[in-house]
């Protein structure tokens, strides 16, 4: 029997060892060996997480394990250690990260096959899993922050994985810089926490939180939320996520759908007590989340790149999660995060399978009719679409319903907007499904004849994720449907302290039934509309030049947000840099440096006149010198 403490440290250790092992042997290992090492390390980590989870579930009483590995920094009053906290929240995150992470690792074997950077890719993936585990396992803000920065680094490395394409490098830079803005807020928040609480341990901060002054807490929570905005792609820092689709598709699935982007959701849920104590920050989260959910959903309506649609859908779903957190429905947010990890990873991997089969074609206008050629991909993708659309009994139904119910209880307008966003989601997801898999093939005849279903390493993870997307919702069946909401029960210790602070909204079961029925009927109507538009009438999205409807044009260009940022921020920064270059650098620093050089030069020009080469002059100088010396010597 391995002791629990060992088990906890094993979880992040395996991916780290996997990373080091592969990274130092990228030139030596064969693809097969690297795949075994990388997948094996994540699988080992998954098994360790699973046994921790089972341990937690079977423990009565206090469900949390705190393991301090070693003291990291000790300076004056400040000490911090590398220590891990395993409680229901982090345990759930561990299962998602290592479980979905393992499936995506397996998928990558098939997807990245024959890529020259195969070994490098797997070393980055393992490093990412390590940092992500650090992020969720840390029992203090500093360990979380290391993980937070580490996943940002891996995201950068993997977005720019095919670094020979300059556009991909630009996307990687954009992601990194956007995240940096958020991380600055995060760091300031952590510093403020240390100043006010004198500690960065979660336990100590939370136990003193109720004594803290509300305005300070509001400032801290808003700063932390700015970090979450960057990492989890919320307005106004969301534009990096759609561009991040430049990375290989497994990366989009793992980092930019299932795990890293949900770090912000995890962080807010972890600090639920601080947020519950600052209503203003909660209001801000509701507004930002709701705005992002609607905004991104509208953009997704008109995109034609299969991965871009999914990316905007991710932004929108993240908005819904933040909406739930802001409403105080922390369980709902985490629940949706978990189910979203399943079905969005599935959708991305399915999209990857399509892209793989069509030899890197991503435009849905050039797909169509793939149902017959890619049956496994089609079926699993269909399950993913049903799950994200909230068709019962698939996973998304339960989690989305929980968010909508808490929105309804909180405020009818919030509910209406959230409902609109989720109905838009239904429409664009079915639009994607119909355009990709239904109708007549629009790909070139040549590529149609070469289409074949992806290899098993790709289809097996798809099937596993499809099963999870189908049944994942059963971990949180609401009481209204005769369930006991196991997940809410499981997570309750984490949110126990904050629950009394929040207003209780209870809906009667009959209201819940009406809401569910309304949502399902609306969803069915929208699916029917999408079917008639894209399958029966064979409507095809117009290409860029042919869009006449101004509203559609604005959506197609993503509200021109990138252009606006370019105009408001990028251009002025370039302009300021240009000014610094021409004024400060050229006529300031350069001049100063040149001046010091020139003054030494002109000084030496004077001094070298002494060395005129005339012997008589030297002798004269010598005689004068001796006479002076003797004269001085004689005086004393």
């Amino acid at each position: 029997m391995v002791s629990i403490d060992f088990l906890v440290s094993f979880v992040p250790l395996f991916p780290l060892l996997g990373f080091l092992f592969v990274a130092f042997n990228t030139k030596r290992f064969t693809e097969g060996f690297t795949a075994v090492v990388a997948c094996g390390s994540v699988l080992a980590s998954f098994i360790a997480s699973l046994s921790l989870f089972i341990h937690l579930v079977s423990t009565d009483g206090v469900r949390s394990i705190d393991v301090a590995l070693f003291t990291w920094i000790s300076a004056g009053d400040f000490t911090t250690s590398i220590s891990f906290l395993i409680d229901p929240l982090s345990s759930l995150m561990l299962l998602i990260i290592t479980g979905v992470g393992f499936l995506i690792h397996v998928y990558s074997i098939g997807y990245m096959h024959d890529d020259p950077g195969f070994n490098r890719f797997f070393s980055y993936l393992n490093l990412f899993v390590f940092f992500m585990l650090l992020l969720v396992m840390g029992d203090n803000y500093l360990v979380m922050f290391i993980g937070w920065e580490g996943v940002g680094l891996c995201s950068y490395l993997l977005i720019g994985f095919w670094f020979k394409n300059q556009a991909y490098n630009d996307a990687a830079n954009k992601a990194f810089i956007m995240n940096r803005i958020g991380d600055l807020g995060m760091l300031l928040g952590i510093i403020l926490i240390f100043i006010n609480f004198g500690s960065i341990q979660y336990a100590e901060v939370f136990s003193n939180a109720t004594n803290a002054n509300t305005s300070t807490l509001t400032l801290i929570t808003i700063l932390l939320f700015i970090g979450a905005m960057g990492k989890s792609a919320q307005i106004p820092l969301y534009t990096w996520l759609p561009d991040a689709m430049a990375g290989p598709t497994p990366v989009s699935a793992l980092i930019h759908a299932a795990t890293m982007v949900t770090a912000g959701v995890y962080m807010v849920a972890r600090n639920n007590l601080l947020y519950a104590l600052s209503p203003i920050a909660m209001e801000l989260i509701v507004i930002v989340g709701l705005a992002t959910a609607l905004f991104a959903a509208t953009i997704a309506l008109t995109q034609n790149d299969i991965k871009k649609v999914l990316a905007y859908s991710t932004v929108s779903q993240l908005g819904l999660m933040f909406l739930a957190l802001g409403l105080g429905a922390f369980t709902g947010g985490i629940f949706h995060m978990a189910t979203h990890a399943f079905f969005k990873a599935l959708l991305f991997l399915g999209a990857g399978s399509v892209i793989h089969a069509l030899h890197h074609e991503q435009d849905i206008r050039k797909m169509g009719g793939l149902r017959k050629h890619l049956p496994v991909t089609y079926l699993t993708f269909l399950i993913g679409v049903l799950a994200i659309s909230g068709i019962p009994p698939f996973a998304g139904f339960f989690s989305k319903d929980e968010i909508l119910a808490s929105a309804f209880a909180h405020n009818k307008i919030v509910w209406a907007i959230a409902l609109l966003a989720s109905m838009l989601t239904v429409f664009y997801m079915f639009r994607l499904l119909f355009l990709t898999f239904f109708g007549n093939p629009r790909a070139s005849h040549d590529s149609i004849s070469h289409i074949h279903e992806s290899p098993q390493s790709i289809t097996m993870p798809l099937i596993a994720l499809a099963v999870l997307s189908a049944i994942g919702g059963f971990m949180g069946i609401p009481e209204a449907l005769g369930g006991s909401h196991w997940l809410g029960e499981f997570l309750s210790p984490v949110f126990a302290a904050s629950q009394p602070l929040l207003e209780e909204h209870h809906l009667s079961h009959s209201t819940e039934y009406i809401l569910m029925a309304a949502v399902v009927v609306l969803t069915a109507m929208i699916i029917g509309y999408a079917y008639s538009r894209y399958v029966t009438k064979k409507h095809l999205p117009a290409s860029e030049g042919q869009i006449t409807n101004p509203a559609q044009r604005i959506l197609y260009h993503k509200y021109y947000i990138d252009e606006i940022y370019d105009l408001l921020i990028v251009k002025p920064v370039y302009w300021i840099s240009e000014q610094f270059y021409s004024v400060v650098e050229k006529s300031g620093i350069d001049r100063l440096v040149n001046f010091s050089g020139r003054s030494v030069e002109s000084g030496s020009k004077l001094a070298r006149l002494l060395q005129n080469g005339s012997l008589g002059y030297y002798i004269f100088a010598m005689v004068i010198g001796i006479a002076l010396l003797l004269g001085f010597a004689g005086r004393y």
Partner: protein, 103 residues
Amino acid sequence: MINSIPINYYIWLSATLFTIGVLGVLYRRNAIIIFMCIELMLNAVNLLMVAFSSYLNDASGQVFVFFIMAVAAAEVAVGLAILVLMYRNTKTIDINVLNRLKW
């Protein structure tokens, strides 16, 4: 007999000789003459040493003179060799020709 000549005379004579040597070094351009002027200065010092040695009845001054004469002989040998080489290279012994050792 020598004691009948006052010490002042010796001092004046050697000071005069030394000054002639210094001025010769400063003003002449012929290397051999400069060389001879240096010897003149050395000998002016020698003369002074010997005079004081006799005046003070102390032999150590005369020992110094022998040292100086030995060193001067060696110096002459080296100096003349330099002059010969200089003449071979430049066909002149004018020191103003030796002005290339500058920046």
